[in-house]
C-alpha cells in the first residue's frame, strides 16, 4: 500500500504525518495521534460523535480521509481552552449538560463552531446546528440551555440577547 505524507496543523501544532490512503481522519486522530477525546459512534456520518473542526468548520471526521487533511487545520476537543476549560465546556458542566458524556466532545465542537459564526443564536438555530449530533441519553434540553448560556457568557456584559424567548 502506498503511504502518503501529509502536513496538517492539529490543535495549533504543525505535524508531518505518514497516513494510509484508506485511513479516515478519525482513525488518524484517535489511533495515530492519541487524541481520543474525539469519539467514534456510528462511523457512518449519522451521529456526530466524531465532530471536529476542519479549517474552523464542523465536519464528521469519520467521513473525511486523513489524506484530505493535507494542508488543513484540524481542531479537536483537546485543542479547546488551553490551561482551563473553554467557555462552552464550562457551560456544559454548569448546566449539567453531560450524562454519559459520549456525545459531549462532538456536541461541544459543533457548539463552538456555531458560536464563532453566530454569537447570539436563537434556540431554534441551536437546534438546527446540533441536528447532526445525537445524544442517546436524550439530554437535549440541558445541552441547548448550555449552548445558549455559553453564548451569553461569551458575549459578555452588555451583549444581551437580541431576541427574548
Amino acid at each position: 500500500v502506498n503511504e502518503l505524507a501529509i502536513r496538517a496543523t492539529v490543535n495549533g501544532q504543525a505535524h508531518k504525518i505518514i497516513v494510509l490512503p484508506g485511513m479516515t481522519l478519525l482513525e488518524l486522530l484517535r489511533d495515530g495521534l492519541n487524541l481520543t477525546g474525539t469519539k467514534e459512534g456510528c462511523g457512518a456520518g449519522d451521529c456526530g460523535a466524531c465532530t471536529i473542526l476542519l479549517d474552523g468548520r464542523p465536519v464528521n471526521s469519520c467521513l473525511v480521509l486523513a489524506a484530505e487533511a493535507d494542508g488543513r487545520s484540524v481542531t479537536t476537543i483537546e485543542g479547546l481552552g488551553g490551561d482551563s476549560l473553554h467557555p462552552v465546556q464550562k457551560a456544559f458542566v454548569r448546566n449539567a449538560a453531560v450524562q454519559c458524556g459520549f456525545c459531549s466532545p462532538g456536541m461541544i465542537m459543533t457548539a463552538v463552531a456555531l458560536l464563532a459564526e453566530n454569537p447570539d443564536p436563537t434556540e431554534s438555530e441551536v437546534k438546527t446546528a446540533i441536528a447532526g449530533n445525537l445524544c442517546r441519553c436524550s439530554g437535549y434540553t440541558k445541552i441547548i440551555e448550555a449552548v445558549l448560556d455559553a453564548a451569553c457568557e461569551m458575549r459578555g456584559p452588555g451583549g444581551r440577547a437580541s431576541h427574548e424567548e
Binding site: G22, A44, G45, L54, C62, A67, A131
Partner: protein, 266 residues
C-alpha cells in the same frame, strides 16, 4: 473514482459497498468551487458545498428553492463536506437538490479528455445511482436559469416529506417554479423526486398551468396529473401507494404556497 465531499463514498468504502483502487480528490482542482452570476442566471462550481449553497446571499435571493432544499440535506457537518456535484453524480432518486435544479432549468457541464459538453439536467440522470457522465469525465459546473428571465414575476416552492426534520432522506420531494405576467402563468416547472428511478419533470402538469390563472381548482387538477406521472416503489421508507398519495398532497401544497405568494403581490 472521483472523490467530491466524500459523505457517501467514504461511508460505502468503509462498509464494503464500494471498492476503489484510486480516489482522485476533485476538491484540490482549482476553479471547481464557487457561485457566480446574476439574478436571472447563475453558475455553481461542482465542488461548491451544500453549506455554501444554503448561505449564499445570491442563491437565497434569486434561487431560494436551492438553499431551502439544501437545508434538508444531512446535518451541518455533512453540508460542510457534501458538494453540489456530488449530490447530482450520486444520482439518488431522492437527491434534495435535484428537483430545485430541474425547475431552474439546470444544465450540467461535463469535462473529459474528449473536451467539454453541456447537457440539460433532465437528460443527466439515467437511473438510480446512474448518470450520463462517462467514466473519464467529471462534472465541473451547473448553470441555472429562471424561466422567462429576471423581468417576469416568479414564485416557487419546495415541499418534502421525511420522517425527521433533519438528517433524513426524503420519502417524496417536490419543487415547482412558476413565471407570471400579472396573474397569468407564462412559465411552469414541476419536478418530482423519490417517486421514480430518477428525479423528473412533469410536462403534462406544466402544460396544464401554462396560460392560465392559478386557482384552487387548477391546483387540484395539476396535482392529480402529477400523481399519475409518478412511478413510486415500496421500500423501507414508505409504500408505493402512500408515496403516490403524497405526490398529490405535496404538489397541491407547493402550488398553494405559490398562489398565496402571488395573491399577496397583487
Amino acid at each position: 473514482v472521483p472523490l467530491a465531499g466524500g459523505t457517501d463514498i467514504i461511508r460505502s468504502l468503509s462498509n464494503g459497498r464500494a471498492v476503489a483502487r484510486v480516489l482522485i480528490d476533485l476538491k484540490r482542482i482549482p476553479g471547481l468551487s464557487g457561485i457566480e452570476g446574476t439574478y436571472s442566471r447563475f453558475s455553481i462550481g461542482a465542488m461548491t458545498t451544500i453549506h455554501e449553497i444554503c448561505t449564499s446571499p445570491l442563491v437565497k435571493k434569486a434561487f431560494p428553492l436551492l438553499s431551502e432544499a439544501g437545508m434538508w440535506l444531512g446535518s451541518w457537518q455533512v453540508r460542510n463536506r457534501a458538494t453540489t456535484g456530488g449530490n447530482l453524480c450520486n444520482a439518488s432518486p431522492a437527491a434534495e437538490l435535484a428537483c430545485p435544479l430541474l425547475v431552474y432549468d439546470a444544465e450540467v457541464t461535463l469535462e473529459g479528455p474528449a473536451g467539454l459538453r453541456v447537457m440539460p439536467l433532465t437528460g443527466f440522470f439515467t437511473g438510480p445511482g446512474q448518470t450520463a457522465r462517462r467514466h473519464s469525465e467529471i462534472l465541473t459546473s451547473i448553470t441555472c436559469r429562471r424561466p422567462g428571465g429576471a423581468e417576469a414575476g416568479h414564485a416557487g416552492a419546495y415541499e418534502r416529506l421525511g420522517p425527521r426534520s433533519a438528517m433524513d432522506i426524503s420519502i417524496v420531494n417536490v419543487a415547482v417554479n412558476l413565471g407570471f405576467e400579472g396573474v397569468s402563468c407564462i412559465g411552469a416547472r414541476v419536478a418530482l423526486g423519490a417517486v421514480g428511478p430518477v428525479p423528473f419533470r412533469v410536462p403534462e402538469a406544466e402544460a396544464l398551468l401554462l396560460g392560465h390563472n392559478l386557482d384552487p381548482r387548477l391546483i387540484r387538477q395539476v396535482s392529480l396529473v402529477a400523481q399519475k406521472a409518478a412511478r413510486p416503489i415500496t421500500d423501507i421508507r414508505a409504500s408505493a401507494a402512500y408515496r403516490s398519495d403524497m405526490v398529490r398532497a405535496l404538489v397541491d401544497r407547493a402550488l398553494s404556497r405559490v398562489l398565496k405568494k402571488v395573491s399577496r403581490c397583487e
